[in-house]
């Protein structure tokens, strides 16, 4: 299994632990990642907010380079994932649009290869049996809620590898790792990430609701697949009591017994070390 790898900007800065844990678990699971040379930012929410043509051209440059590599692209960040998929979707549906876009970026791009989220790759391409075979430290005693947020599941005609209202891929992965995946009511709610600077009062209300739903079901931690959800929930949550926010990749790494895992958890603002040490997982 080999993919062109699109890390996305946050993996080298605010979500370093997401990038590091993704690469480490792929190595361990036999998923080969070849970084797209000289990749650029996908433009995220701000690209499409201000200009549709920009929102297609920025991802297209990366997709065109990946196409030269002759590989499907693996994406870690949920927002990058939607942006790359949206552009690919338009080109696949209209060769004329693809030609105009190719002129704009000065490179051919014909949507010949797919774009996949790392969660989809691990759960569906690799399969949970393969993951389970490599679990050395089952995550016993951890009550976790899977938070999918927006762009892993919506809009379903562009991104959907899972149910848009009641996705289960992350829950099933956590169970394969030995944790208890708890059902809850905020799986696909929005955390308000795009408003955290522009209107933080709205973002704080939305992310507060997500944390509250997790507390209601007595979760030990919230598991995420998006660096914006993570930053938002980890940095801006309010009491009572800390609610650790963990990337699914970190938990895979922990269950696989990777020694680097503790270093990833040390990068969180809400410290998960007490929780994990209390459960004898670190």
């Amino acid at each position: 299994m080999k993919y062109a790898f699109y890390p996305g900007c946050t993996q080298e800065a605010t979500a370093e632990e997401f990038g590091q844990s993704s690469k480490a678990i792929c190595r361990e699971l036999g998923i080969e990642l070849e970084e797209i040379p000289d990749w650029n930012c996908c433009g995220a929410s701000s690209g499409h907010f201000l200009d549709e043509a920009l929102a297609d051209a920025l991802p297209a440059r990366n997709l065109a380079i990946a196409e030269k590599m002759g590989l499907d692209t693996a994406v870690v960040c949920a927002a990058c994932y939607l942006r790359l998929r949206a552009t690919r979707h338009k080109v696949a549906g209209s060769p004329e649009f693809g030609k105009a876009l190719a002129d704009r970026i000065g490179m051919p791009y014909e949507a010949q290869y797919g774009v996949k989220n790392l969660l989809d790759i691990i759960v569906n391409d690799l399969g949970l049996d393969e993951v389970q075979k490599k679990v050395r430290k089952p995550l016993q005693g951890l009550r976790l809620v899977s938070y999918y947020g927006c762009y892993i599941v919506r809009p379903p005609d562009i991104v959907g590898f899972d149910d848009p209202e009641n996705p289960t891929s992350m829950d099933r992965l956590l169970e394969a790792l030995g944790a208890e995946a708890v059902d809850w009511g905020a799986k696909v709610d929005c955390c308000g990430g795009s408003l955290i600077l522009g209107r933080d009062d709205i973002a704080l209300k939305l992310l507060g609701g997500v944390i509250e739903r997790a507390r209601e079901v007595d979760a030990d931690a919230i598991v995420v697949a998006c660096p914006m959800c993570h930053a938002n929930l980890d940095m801006r949550q309010k009491g009572p009591g800390p609610m650790p926010i963990l990337y699914f990749t970190e938990l895979v790494g922990l269950a696989l017994g990777l020694p680097e895992a503790e270093g990833w958890f040390r990068k969180h603002l809400v410290d998960p070390l007490n929780l994990l040490k209390g459960k004898k997982l670190l």
Partner: protein
């Protein structure tokens, strides 16, 4: 939530609905006001016109009410409405088109810090080809005038927390072919005269 929705002769711009249809490509006429979008909208509480009313105002050509609304700026683009709409009306894309039209029109912006954020977000990308958070945050504070004591306290606390965990990078990551990215900006956003 809304004030008077009844159009008067002076409010209606008959060309506006057509412009919205053309520029967005969104099938606004398919809306039969079932309110599914609004019921599932996490940001609707902060909107002066909830999403279903924005669609209705567009159909009626009430440009000024749409452009001066808070709704078009506080939509989080979470994609829940379009996922659930029985008529597949792409409201997030409609919102993108509407705030782009409002900016091009020079209309007063009800929530100015939102477009300021999106503009400063793109600035480092154009320069380096990648995001550079420290620069983006600095520009945002300057341009949005975020200097209240609570803003500064929040930024210091979070900035320090991130710095101690080595998550703040003070040197931008510059891609090799920055020219290609600058050219993309020139041909798209800047080509539109913004």
């Amino acid at each position: 939530m809304s004030d008077n929705m009844t159009p008067s002769k002076n409010d209606c711009d008959p060309t506006f609905a057509e412009r919205v249809r053309r520029e967005s490509g969104v099938a606004i006429d398919r809306c039969y006001q079932c309110l599914t979008c609004t019921l599932g909208c996490d940001a609707a509480y902060a909107m002066d016109y909830p999403p279903n009313q924005i669609v209705r105002l567009c159909q009626m050509g009430m440009k000024d009410k749409v452009f001066s609304s808070s709704s078009i700026w506080v939509c989080t683009a979470c994609e829940a409405c379009v996922t659930r709409c029985p008529n597949e009306i792409d409201i997030p894309h409609l919102m993108d088109t509407l705030h782009q039209m409002a900016l091009a029109d020079g209309s007063p912006v009800k929530v100015p810090s939102v477009p300021v954020f999106h503009k400063v977000f793109l600035a480092p990308i154009k320069l380096f080809g990648r995001q550079f958070e420290v620069m983006m945050m600095g520009l945002f504070m300057l341009r949005a005038g975020k200097f209240s004591i609570s803003d500064i306290k929040t930024n210091i606390t979070l900035g320090l927390g991130m710095f101690l965990r080595n998550k703040l990078k003070f040197i931008p990551h510059r891609i090799r072919d920055t020219k290609a990215v600058k050219e993309i900006f020139r041909q798209t956003l800047e080509g539109r005269g913004k």
